[in-house]
Amino acid sequence: MTRRIFLGAAACAGSAPARMRELELRCALVDLGSDCVLRESLEGFAGAMPGAIKIPAEQLTDWQECQFYAVDRELGHRQECLFYVVPGAGAINDDLGLRLARLVDREGWLVFESGAGFADETAFRTQREMLASYFGLAIERPMNLRESGESIVPYVDYAWPAAVKIRDFSRVVPVGLAARPAEAPVPPLEVIGAIAGRRVAVRRRVGRGVLIFLGSPIGPALGAGDRDAHRWLKSLMALGPVDSTSFGE
């Protein structure tokens, strides 16, 4: 058990509601500014995670403190964030990609919600390059499922961390399974959500943390009060620090 997991477990040792409150305070909502192409998604997450610290991307540090004080507010025993959410992502520069990768490696959870379906081609390309470089993920060009003309069931079926159905947000970013950085093998990519036979949500171990990629935004569903979307987020936060059990290994 690492020091961070020990501290997390110790701090979480109270009652279940108290533990949940703590976990809610250990979230960071990363505001990409003009590169957040779905502001309503950011607002949806902000409404669903009132304890999260909302931080502009450029101020994100390698040791990101959260709203939770482990011992005493006056003494200033602030804790590190456990969950990082990047809603409605458009363009992502290399520097931010590196910082996100470092944070994930500190046993964090990174929920990366792609808004590439609502961004221009350049933004999509930078996002694709960043995800490939730092997370070994190959995303495909955004697509509008309805334009295919086929009648689709308008829900993304999530299998993890809760089995829920969440309405798709028109344009999805499918994920390829063939992502392989040249230099080293990477942990397997696990599909956690699909729609119309396309993989649009995956998770992958990244160092000591976990990346969750959402190719269909769920922030707007959170904002609209979708119970399944809230259940999905709460189930994720309830997992606490990343360890083998929380990852279902």
Binding site: S151, I152, V153, P154, Y155, K165
Partner: protein
């Protein structure tokens, strides 16, 4: 999910017993009884006769899925004339009483009827008042009142949010929505209604609809399941999402000119396929 069909599908010259036998044989689990539609179930049908009706249904190997009524179109709870309103309240109360006698826990009503004469806002207020009063009877009887979305037919509560708002204002757990997935026509998408109303759905009516055509003369826009424009895979998924596991009740308008019993067989097969999500 269990499947049911209305007793109003039974050919007019058939007896109830013959009709129930066909319903059972063609694969249904239950029957929806329509107060005021067929001679065996009218306002003057006594309690004893209603019990006898239940015995016949059960002897046929069926259950009563719910009690609907065909009287709301002439006597609605939103009528301006207090005497008509009183009659409307009475027949809904009779539905509640009958539901108890028949061993079911849901009734269907048309909650409000907007006409050229009676405007929307009047209908809205009266409907809420009437539903609150009826809920006081439904709760102790443990019978759920399902207000059917008749959309363009009653020109009222056209959108799911309007319906949601009405139910919020009634604010009683015994009042919900009897959702008809065929009634939404061009004004929306049934899967969105299901998603929005979730646990408030008391029963589901199934039929398909031909969108973009509208009603003209005696030409119906309704058709058999899978023949129209409803997105059935989406409806099936939405029911899953909403956790609906109750009765699916076929409300078929299209009658077969020849071999009228074929409608029941075809519809039962379609519902089985819908339930199994094999598209």
């Amino acid at each position: 999910m269990k499947k049911s069909i209305g007793d109003n599908i039974i050919p007019k010259d058939w007896t109830l017993e013959r009709g129930l036998e066909l319903i059972k044989r063609s694969g249904y689990d239950g029957v929806e009884l329509w107060l005021g539609d067929r001679p065996w179930f009218q306002m003057n049908t006594s309690d004893t006769q209603v019990r006898e009706l239940r015995r016949k249904v059960e002897d046929a190997g069926l259950a009563v899925s719910d009690v609907a009524n065909s009287l709301d179109w002439d006597e609605n709870i939103s009528a301006r004339d207090p005497r008509i309103r009183e009659r409307a309240m009475r027949h809904v109360e009779r539905q509640i009483e009958s539901a108890q006698l028949l061993g079911t826990d849901a009734i269907l009503l048309v909650a409000g009827l907007v006409t050229e004469e009676i405007p929307y806002n009047e209908v809205y207020g009266r409907s809420i008042e009437a539903l609150r009063t009826l809920a006081e009877k439904a709760g102790p009887a443990r019978v759920k009142i399902g207000c059917e979305n008749c959309n363009s037919e009653h020109r009222f509560l056209i959108s799911p949010r309007e319906f949601w708002q009405l139910l919020n204002e009634v604010n009683n757990p015994w009042v919900g929505i009897h959702l008809d997935v065929g009634n939404i026509h061009d004004t929306g998408f049934p899967e969105q209604w299901i998603e929005m109303h979730g646990r408030r759905i008391t029963r589901v009516h199934l039929k398909d609809v031909l969108r973009h055509r509208g009603r003209s003369g005696d030409q119906s826009v309704y058709t058999n399941i899978f023949l129209g424009d409803n997105n059935w895979p989406a409806i099936r998924a939405a029911l899953d999402k909403a956790g609906y596991d109750g009765w699916l009740i076929a409300e078929m308008e299209a009658r077969y000119r020849y071999a009228p019993d074929q409608q029941l067989w075809d519809t039962a097969t379609a519902i089985d396929r819908f339930t199994a999500a094999k598209f």
